[in-house]
Symmetry: C2
Subunit: 198 residues, 2 copies
DNA sequence: CCTCAAGTTGAGAGGCCCCTCAAGTTAGCT
DNA sequence: AGCTAACTTGAGGGGCCTCTCAACTTGAGG
């Protein structure tokens, strides 16, 4: 790849990250091109689809989440690790409307990457006895969807409100709170499908 | 108003209710007109803005919610009343993607109407000791936003999944689950503003 | 310095949606 | 039956966004 192409790619990614962060994943692409000081044609040269751009813009996050997960597993108290992990992910969401949108389409079940770690975090916390035994990995989607919705609604007027939402959700996941759940968890296939359509 | 105008209004409302229910609040208006067998111009004659149409289409819901609230207050067990009310509202959301969208912009704090009843339901449940004492009316927005997000994501592939989400949320609202919350509740002004921008 | 593959450009076609308004139609009164 | 205010119509202008492609420019190897 020619070096000017590399540079343009980098500028596009930076502009995209900025605009995604400020306004969510559906910023017009021509605005990103303009912000990058590059023509719309170049944007399409470097990133043939919006998804390609989004993926490239947030490529680093997978590693970040993995770090969070490892850090969580390194904590002594399994429940606190669980809480720390979810809090960490939600902090990423709250800090970036683009990632907030993306997380809602990606949550939890992305078995491919470091998310296998999430299963460990969850199961360890269950073995520790503080996380209720009847929740599944797929239930984590509810947390992410919920917090994502709260972040979207409140980021302007009450940033940080999601922390209260998350705290309430976590209390609902604590073993001491457990009442029998009305229906079985979603299958991973269902969850995957649900994530797909936003 | 001329009787053909009345008839067209009615047809439009029916078409709108159907399409809103199936596809959410942002169906193209011309599609609604087409489904009603009427021109787009007529739609604009009857309903000058999208909001006017939405409001008319869901005018009955306020009464339904009030009924739910009264029914909840008539229950012996305050907590069960609280649960029944939230479940009822969420059932409305799950049954109609349009109302699901609308609820997310309307939740809880709409002091004007029968929602004053919601405050009663909540406070009664707190006095009863089963609803944690540190939650506020504004916290109900988290439940509605969360369930709305889950309904949107899962209605096709796992309808009913929201019941599990709601059950977990409710467990988090139960007094036995209460751990200190990290931040104070949103003010009603904040909540109102948050509801405004989606 | 020359060359050409690699890269850039931006106007424009196309899609979707909103909203208007001048021309045509009709209900319902007299 | 005639009249008029009320109503309907739908083509069309406008905005916004996506995506393409023929013409142009440039980096870098020889």
């Amino acid at each position: 790849m020619r070096k000017d192409a590399v540079q343009n790619r980098e500028r596009l990614l930076q502009a995209a990250r900025q605009l995604f962060a400020d306004r969510g994943l559906d910023v017009p692409l021509d605005e990103i091109a303009r912000a990058a000081g590059v023509s719309i044609g170049t944007l399409y040269n470097r990133f043939p689809t919006r998804d390609a751009l989004v993926e490239a813009a947030f490529a680093d996050r997978a590693a970040t989440v993995t770090e969070l997960a490892e850090h969580a597993l390194a904590m002594d108290n399994p429940w606190e690790g669980f809480v720390a992990f979810l809090t960490g992910v939600c902090e990423l969401q709250a800090a970036d409307l683009g990632y907030n949108d993306l997380a809602a389409r990606t949550a939890a079940v992305d078995g491919d990457r470091g998310y296998g770690l999430m299963r460990e975090i969850l199961e360890r916390a269950q073995r520790g006895g503080e996380l209720r035994a009847d929740v599944t990995l797929t239930d984590m989607a509810f947390v992410v969807w919920g917090v994502a919705a709260t972040v979207r609604a409140t980021h302007k007027v009450a940033p940080g409100a999601w922390r209260r939402h998350l705290a309430l959700a976590l209390d609902g996941l604590h073993a001491t709170a457990a009442h029998p759940l009305p229906i079985p968890p979603m299958s991973t296939a269902q969850t995957r499908a649900a994530l797909r359509d936003c």
